[in-house]
């Protein structure tokens, strides 16, 4: 075990995978000499050299398209997109190509590319350094989407992603890159996809969150505990595939659900989860499902503290669900 921050854990995960498998390589803007603008790839160039750590020209479609070609030919590319906000020049490669290669070739051409990218707000990044657009990718069949909220999961899920046979969008909550640290197992210890993490056991209400909203949900649970409300906190961590059983079981136990994400509410991931709970756990629900999310506006700069969900908003919503049924 080693105490690491979340971004250090990403770094260790990459190094671990590269040491084990010479087919693993990383590519992206500023990932080599600079070690990545968030330092996620710090030291990799030195250890693995220019053939396995590629500083690319400024082109996301170039990064993802070449990563696809590398994967088709048998390498295991881990592409970094500097910010999720800048992924759109590669959207065509991701949605039309990466997600569909296996399917359109009848399984002849699997395409195991990992795309790592920091996402989310809380760093005063304004419109284009803050967005949480995970739903675009969740909506695209053929892509797995995972989001760690702890250093151990960052490393463990990344190792799983790199070994996975399918493309994986690996979204890193940049706001807690350095503010969270924790014990991380040494070596090739993987965290499986499709399993939610129980952060805190509770009986009155289930709070579902992922990424940087997990600490916010936990803080809300502390507040609620002081008021005698027992909140269960569940870190979804793997949006595709989703741990449906864990979500349903939790609501069957508590009878109430609050879904938290930074992304805009309309057609956000919470809508999918709420639909799932309505389909599979309606008769357990004692109160309407609540969503605490970003608003349906672009992400503001000066007022981001009012836009982003905080613990007070989450606790407020949980209290309302408890009060209403």
């Amino acid at each position: 075990m080693t105490e690491l921050t979340l971004v250090q854990a990403v770094n260790r995960g990459l190094a671990e995978a590269m040491r084990r498998d010479p087919n693993v390589l990383v590519l992206g803007e500023d990932v080599g000499v600079n070690g990545g603008v968030f330092r996620a790839t710090d030291g990799l160039l030195k250890e693995f050299g220019e053939e396995r750590v590629l500083d690319t020209p400024l082109s996301e479609t170039g990064i993802v398209g070449t990563a696809i070609g590398m994967a088709l030919y048998g390498l295991k590319p881990v592409a970094e997109i500097q910010f999720l906000d800048f992924i759109y020049p590669a959207f065509d490669q991701i949605v039309s190509e990466l997600a569909k290669f296996r399917y359109r070739s009848g399984g002849q051409y699997p395409c195991p590319v990992v795309i790592r990218t920091p996402y989310g707000g809380g760093i005063k990044g304004g419109l284009y350094h803050s967005q949480s657009t995970e739903a675009y990718f969740c909506h695209t069949a053929g892509l797995k989407v995972v989001i760690p909220s702890t250093p151990a999961d960052a490393k463990g899920l990344l190792l799983t992603a790199i070994q996975d046979e399918d493309p994986v969008m690996f979204l890193e909550p940049k706001r807690i890159y350095r503010s969270v640290s924790g014990e991380v197992p040494d070596g090739d210890v993987r965290v499986p996809f499709g399993r939610a993490r129980l952060v805190r056991d509770g009986t009155d209400v289930s709070i579902f969150a992922y990424g940087a909203m997990v600490p916010v949900a936990s803080e809300a649970a502390d507040t609620l505990a002081a008021e005698g409300i027992s909140a269960e906190v569940i870190d979804l961590r793997s949006l595709v595939p989703l741990d449906e059983a864990a979500a349903v079981a939790s609501v069957e136990k508590t009878g109430r659900a609050v879904i938290v994400h930074e992304a805009a509410r309309f057609c956000g991931f919470g809508a999918e989860l709420a639909a799932l709970l309505a389909e599979k756990a309606l008769y357990s629900l004692k109160a309407p499902i609540a969503r605490v999310t970003g608003y349906d506006t672009p992400f503001p700069y000066a007022l981001e503290h009012l836009y982003l969900p905080n613990a007070a908003r989450v606790a407020h919503a949980a209290r309302e669900t408890v009060r209403s049924g």
Partner: protein
């Protein structure tokens, strides 16, 4: 670096500009460059003090920016990236408005929506910038085609860096401009670095300007530390565009003296010696020497100019810091021309949260 503009093309080399800057205009340009530099210096400190959140310095690029802006008409449209403070100042944007934007207060025309340096000023035909690299390039081409359709005798000018020449929009923009002979000037400030990527790793092309040839029009390289050379190249490109001779790509060779932004540590990827070497051709010093040689500037006068610039920066900053913040619920505005019922409901929900003390503005 070469001095003056040199065409790397084989077709119709640009002729000498019909006009050059008068002594008074040169001095005006110098004042703008000093103001731009003084703002940079102050803002780097302000960011460290937490008084502004972020900053993108333009030091080293002042002659390129001011020289280009000077060669344009006030009716020409600017499609900037995020590093063009010299252009904004030369277009007459006030320093107060810029500081309002850096702070994101109620005086900010963009209502506190964007990070510092991502501003826009409709009155000055300066289109509001975004962060994604290169997106403005195709837009400038579209605006140029529109202006021609409306018979408006203007050009559009788009600013971008060496890194942006790898973007989708650079290639699409040049191609469209070539096909439609759009009256657009592609003004590339090659400051040698795209964050940590040096120019020679961005493209195998010997120059960025030569990329224009593949799209069927002229590309010229100009020494971007030489205000008059830049002015001449832009004036020529502008005259050609208005005469229906199509677009031009201008590569202004400069150097980014400071970090990419206040989030960047250039020591990780470049040496102090390299920076020192390029600082020997500091565009501000260069113009100062030119003005001194012409008898238009001496040390005491220069000192006065600098003091005036620094004073102007301080006054603009203080005024901006006194201005009230943006209204809390204002982030719901401008999503659409008129809010949808859903947005109105969310706004009411937000107001209720504020009233109940759940959210504290």
């Amino acid at each position: 670096m070469n001095s003056g503009a040199s065409s790397t093309g084989t077709r119709s080399p640009p002729s000498a500009p019909a006009v050059s800057l008068t002594p008074a205009e040169l001095l005006e340009s110098y004042k703008t460059m000093v103001l731009s530099r003084a703002t940079d210096e102050r803002c780097l400190t302000l960011q460290r003090q937490g008084r502004i959140g972020f900053y993108v310095p333009a030091s080293g690029q002042e002659a390129a920016q001011v020289g280009c802006a000077r060669a344009l008409s006030g009716d020409d449209w600017i499609f900037p990236a995020y590093r063009e403070i010299g252009v904004a100042l030369a277009r007459g944007v006030s320093l107060e408005r810029l500081f309002d934007q850096f702070i994101g207060n109620s005086g900010d025309l963009s209502k506190g929506r964007q990070m510092p340096n991502h501003y826009g000023f409709r009155e000055q035909r300066f289109v509001t910038a975004s962060s994604p690299i290169g997106t403005q390039i195709t837009q400038a081409v579209g605006a140029a085609i529109a202006a021609r359709r409306k018979r408006d005798p203007i050009v559009t000018v788009t600013f971008f860096g060496d890194g942006a020449t790898s973007s989708n929009d650079f290639h699409a923009g040049l191609n469209f401009a070539g096909v439609y002979r759009a009256p657009t000037i592609f003004f590339c400030q090659n400051n040698q670095w795209a964050i940590s990527l040096p120019r020679e790793k961005q493209t195998r092309s010997a120059t960025l300007a030569e990329k224009a040839h593949a799209y069927g029009f002229d590309g010229v390289v100009v020494d971007g530390t030489d205000l008059e050379a830049v002015y001449g190249a832009v004036a020529t490109a502008r005259a050609r565009a208005l005469a229906g001779q199509g677009p031009t790509l201008i590569e202004a060779q400069v150097y980014r003296f400071g970090p990419h932004s206040t989030s960047d540590d250039p020591h990780r990827y470049r040496t102090d010696a390299e920076v020192a070497h390029w600082k020997e051709t500091d565009p501000v010093q260069r113009l100062k020497q030119r003005l001194s040689a012409a008898g238009q500037l001496d040390e005491p006068r220069d000192q006065m100019l600098w003091e005036a610039a620094r004073g102007e920066v301080s006054r603009a900053l203080e005024a901006a810091e006194r201005r009230p913040p943006v209204e809390p619920a204002s982030f719901f505005d401008d999503v659409f021309a008129r809010p949808t019922p859903r947005l109105e409901a969310e706004r009411a929900e937000f107001d209720a949260l504020v009233q109940q003390g759940v959210v504290k503005p």
